[in-house]
Amino acid sequence: MHVIACYSNKGGVGKTATSVNLAHAIARSGRQVLLCDLDPQGASSYYFRVKPSKRLSETRFFEDSDRFADAIRASDFDGLDILPANRSFRDFDRFLSRIRSKRSRLSKALVAGGAEYDVVVLDCPPNFSLLSENVFRAADRIVVPVPPSTLSERTFEQLVEFFKDQGLPRRKISAFFSMVEGRKSLHRDTMARMRAAYPKRFLAASIPYSADVERMGLRRAPVAEYAPRSKAAACYADLFGELAL
């Protein structure tokens, strides 16, 4: 089982869109995917039309494996399940440690149709916290969307520093440029500079700034479902391909 975290320490960078479209692309490739909506402000459940369950707001939720399994909802797409947003993730670090233990009751409850999920995608809240640190340790990959702006450049630096300070493996970071406007020289220059500064951290694929992606809120579905031939859909497919899961 692969655990992939979509993370950014800055808001509004297209993180939730990445979680949703990436999870959808992985499921389309024939794998069983669980998308965990961990960002209380995030909207990945909303994009899949899944209502947050009342039961989910109860505390100590992740301690109870059966309730965890009960909260999982099938999306409308084959092979893609959702764990809807939850306002209380106090025990999430315990969840992360258990998800890795094959013998834990949690990993036994974490099955789709009798088999383990192939990939778990975590849509993470945007701040440095104990939770983020645990996510960084538990995840196999940390997918970081970076809009090519000066501010984003600084927050990305902070993230890499944080990894260094905490002794976390930086090779887990798979960053990519999002909300790219190719006509802006600022974008082009920032991208060139950052790729030079972090040659191993950035994927070749990037996601353009696109009305198709913005329409996700209106359509409440992954881009590839309502605009399958759009540039954005093709770029998310490239991103998934490059992650080589």
Partner: protein, 502 residues
């Protein structure tokens, strides 16, 4: 869990017009195709609550609470597609090995794919609404496909579906709607008997019941669906002949003789096909009896048998379709159903229970007398005689079974069956030797291939050895049957003190 709901008639418009509160049905598409419903003749799928349905090229195996299993098939030219491998093939367990699938019902199917949406337009479950229309009846099949986390919506939809008139859960309800009046075939229906019923009525009931069994198999023999049709047809006739010969004097002697002749003549044309069927079914066993080097010879032998069997089968089918046969069985049927068609004979009015006890007791004593004499020097003919008596005893016990306590009956039937199995093998080996040696000396005097002659020769030698082996086991097996406990049960159930002197 998947649910399977059957609703009478063409219910799709009604179902779709009445979604549960807060839910909406979105019809994705409609497919109109031909359909066929398959099962064996004795309907093992129906009995186990399963449905094997083909719509177009899709073959699906359905049952309640289990996700449907499907595979693609080529409907081909035959009435039943070949299902040699695939998911459905793997899941089709519990079918009798000698039985073939056949079309039970066919017609047109309309399949609607429906998504059930909530107020957020999120799919909560999917359904397939399949309307099956055949000449014999119409039914609507709803298959629900629940989605994780939406159990409550699924349950509400299932409950609402079950509220429709004529709705039921599971596959069982489909059969009476599509095939009203068709009951699953039974090869040995139990004929109820009461203790004080006159014996001639018991005999007549048994004959009628067996005759009905035989006649139900006629179509399957003609179509050559599987070997069991002919087998059951013959068993029916044999049971009738046994009633006629074992129920002594329940009918007037001249009536009995005439019926005996009638049924023996019905049976005669079926023997050759059945014999060859038995050889062909036992083919792997015969191959195991001779060294591999001789297998090419056996291939020749079995190829010849197969050709001969197919020729004989076609002749039999022609016979069963003929006007002469049809008229003859129709006349027999009429006679059997006419209350005055089978008048009582000298013993006809005896009460069933004492009559049965006397017949079984006498036969039992005969079996014991013969069997106790059997040793290494006994002639084959005597062993055969013992086999016949055992068979008659078994028939009598089966016919009159309903009159006696089941548990005690089983206690004495089991060792009798054991003895019969060994006597049966002994007989099979002896008949097979006789039969196979005919292939060494064909009636038309044609030369015999060397390979085949060698294989048959080896087979004969092995069969003769096996027969000798069974013979030594007869004595041991009879000892099992002839123990104090079995004797006590026979005595208790069948021995009437006042009859002791008879």
């Amino acid at each position: 869990m998947t649910s399977l709901i059957v609703i009478a008639g063409k219910a799709a418009p009604l179902v779709l017009a009445r979604p549960c509160e807060g839910l909406r049905f979105a019809v994705g598409g409609a497919l109109r195709r031909d359909f066929a419903l398959y099962d064996c003749f004795d309907q093992p799928l129906r009995r186990s609550g399963r449905v094997l349905l083909r719509t177009g090229r899709d073959l699906i195996l359905l049952s309640d609470d289990v996700a449907p299993i499907s595979q693609k098939v080529d409907p081909g030219r035959g009435s039943v597609p070949a299902i040699a491998s695939g998911a459905v093939c793997d899941a089709l367990t519990g079918l009798p090995p000698l039985r073939a699938l056949m079309v039970q019902c066919a017609g047109r199917a309309e399949t609607l794919s429906v998504a059930v949406l909530d107020d957020m337009e999120k799919t909560c479950l999917r359904m397939q609404v399949i309307t099956l229309s055949a000449q014999s009846g119409t039914a609507t099949l709803v298959l629900t496909e629940p989605m994780r986390g939406y159990d409550r919506a699924h349950q509400r939809v299932v409950d609402a579906l079950l509220d429709f008139e004529g709705a039921s859960r599971g596959a069982t309800g489909l059969w009476p709607l599509l095939l009203p009046g068709v009951q699953p075939y039974q090869s040995k229906p139990e004929v109820p008997i009461t203790a004080d019923e006159p014996a001639h009525r018991v005999a007549a009931d048994l004959i009628r019941s067996s005759m009905s069994v035989s006649r139900q198999n006629e179509a399957g023999i003609i179509e050559d669906i599987d070997t069991e049709f002919l087998h059951d047809y013959r068993i029916g006739l044999r049971r009738i002949r046994s009633v006629l010969s074992l129920f002594r004097d329940v009918f007037p002697p001249e009536e009995t003789d005439e019926l005996q002749r009638e049924f023996s003549e019905l049976m005669a044309p079926t023997g050759r096909v059945r014999d060859l069927d038995v050889y062909l079914l036992g083919k792997p066993g015969f191959f195991a009896l001779v060294p591999e080097a001789l297998h090419p010879g056996l291939d020749l032998l079995f190829a010849r048998m197969k050709t001969e069997r197919d020729v004989a089968q076609r002749a039999l089918a022609r016979h069963l379709r003929s006007d002469r046969y049809t008229a003859r069985v129709a006349a027999l049927d009429a006679r059997l159903t006419d209350p005055s068609g089978l008048p009582p004979g000298p013993e006809g009015d005896r009460a069933a229970l004492p009559y049965a006890q006397a017949l079984i007791w006498t036969r039992y004593r005969k079996v014991c007398k013969l069997a106790r004499r059997i040793d290494a020097d006994t002639s084959d003919d005597d062993v055969h005689r013992l086999r016949i008596h055992c068979k008659k005893l078994r028939y009598l016990m089966e016919f009159f079974g309903p009159l006696f306590p089941k548990k005690k009956f089983r206690k004495i039937l089991r060792p009798l069956k054991g003895l019969q199995d060994i006597l049966g093998l002994f007989n099979d080996y002896s008949v097979q030797q006789l039969e196979l040696s005919r292939y060494l000396h064909p009636d038309d005097g044609a030369p015999v291939e060397t390979d085949m002659a060698a294989a048959v020769g080896a087979l004969l030698a092995t069969l003769s050895r096996l027969q000798a082996g069974e013979r030594t086991r007869v004595v041991a097996s009879f000892a099992d049957f002839d123990n104090r406990a079995v004797r006590a049960v026979f005595e208790e159930l069948f021995h009437q003190p006042e009859e002791a002197g008879r």
